[in-house]
Amino acid sequence: MMEYVAYALVVFVVLTGIATALLRDVLAAIIVFAAYSLGMALLYTLLLAPDVGLTEAVIGAGVTTILLLLTIVKTVRPGGERTIERFDSRAAVACGALAVVFGLTLPDLPAVGDPNSPILSYDAVTGHYLTQSYAETGVENTVTAVLAAYRGFDTFGEATVVFAAGVAVLVVLQREVFT
């Protein structure tokens, strides 16, 4: 039963992704992109990643859409008559070749959900985090434990990148205060 929901979500996500590429109007592309982000958030939750689904729903479907809409308010929304974007055949051939090259590796990848795949059966890393994280850190959510304790330096780097992005936008827009 769950596989059919997953297949339906994947078809929805791929269709909205292709629609985002083909629509000419920027506002329409942004709105379809918001629907795509919501579909991706649901797909992540269906693949048993609720933290990532929450983050994608808030930041992907929320903040990115708001920032894109603010940008076209501040700049221009190009008018025109056509609904579908003009098709660039050279770029399509290049992207198709890239898709074929990636597709040739598909038979070598493990099946989705295989419990014997190399990520899950490597006990020294994944098994250690799953079995020892409550004893060593006292939190039950292993993703939080890995994020804030075992790989805390990466999280510090990422917090610095977020802050640096705020400062960079200040510098680019030549302002001195955030508000």
Binding site: P50, D51, L54, T55, V58, I59, G62, V63, I66, L67, L70, T71, V73, K74, E136, T137, G138, V139, E140, N141, V143, T144, A145, L147, A148, A149, G152, F153, T155, F156, A159, T160, V162, F163, A165, G166, V169, L170, L173, Q174, R175, E176, V177, F178, T179
Partner: protein, 175 residues
């Protein structure tokens, strides 16, 4: 924080910049209802905002035992201010926030994270080694402090700041 010689918080300015005249001018004999951009947005935001704020704080505080954590909760709290800006207008919300609040929130978050991380280096160990702090269950308290006091504040502050900056557009000497 407000102007020292005036009692009101918002200095009276001509309503020529946008149509959101939210402050009540003293010249009118009777208080007017504030002009709103859209009734639907205002009613929806009035109903939904307390729940979103509570949910964001819940996700932040319970990040250790259930799905969630600092990123999700901080982003939700930042988005609450964005929703208020949609309903009441961007300029009145900008005046309400003041010039220092957003910078303070974002910088405080980074400072807390750096202090907790480098504090263990000062105590003689590695970066973010919770075991060196003289509390029992230091790892759990350290993780909670880093998530709530560090990451959530940074993400909330920067999301608010990015929204108001992008809405303001280029400043300085660009005409």
């Amino acid at each position: 924080m407000s102007d020292a010689d005036e009692g009101s918080e918002t200095p009276p300015e001509t309503p020529a910049d946008d149509e959101d005249v939210d402050a009540e001018p003293e010249t009118f004999p009777s208080p007017r209802r504030a002009y709103t951009e859209s009734e639907v947005i205002m009613s929806t935001v009035r109903v939904v905002t307390p729940f979103v704020l509570t949910f964001g704080l819940y996700i932040t505080f319970h990040g250790a035992d259930s799905p969630g954590g600092g990123f999700q909760g901080g982003a939700l709290v930042g988005v609450v201010v964005l929703m208020l800006a949609f309903a009441f207008g961007i300029d009145p919300t900008r005046r309400w926030l003041g010039t220092k609040a957003v910078t303070l929130v974002a910088s405080l978050g980074l400072l807390v994270f750096a202090t907790i991380g480098l504090g263990s280096v000062v105590l003689g160990g590695a970066f973010l080694e919770y075991g060196l702090y003289p509390l029992e269950d230091a790892a759990k308290y350290g993780i909670e402090a880093v998530e709530i006091g560090g990451i959530a504040l940074i993400v909330a502050g920067v999301i608010m700041g990015l929204f108001f900056l992008t809405a303001a557009g280029p400043g300085g000497d660009v005409e």
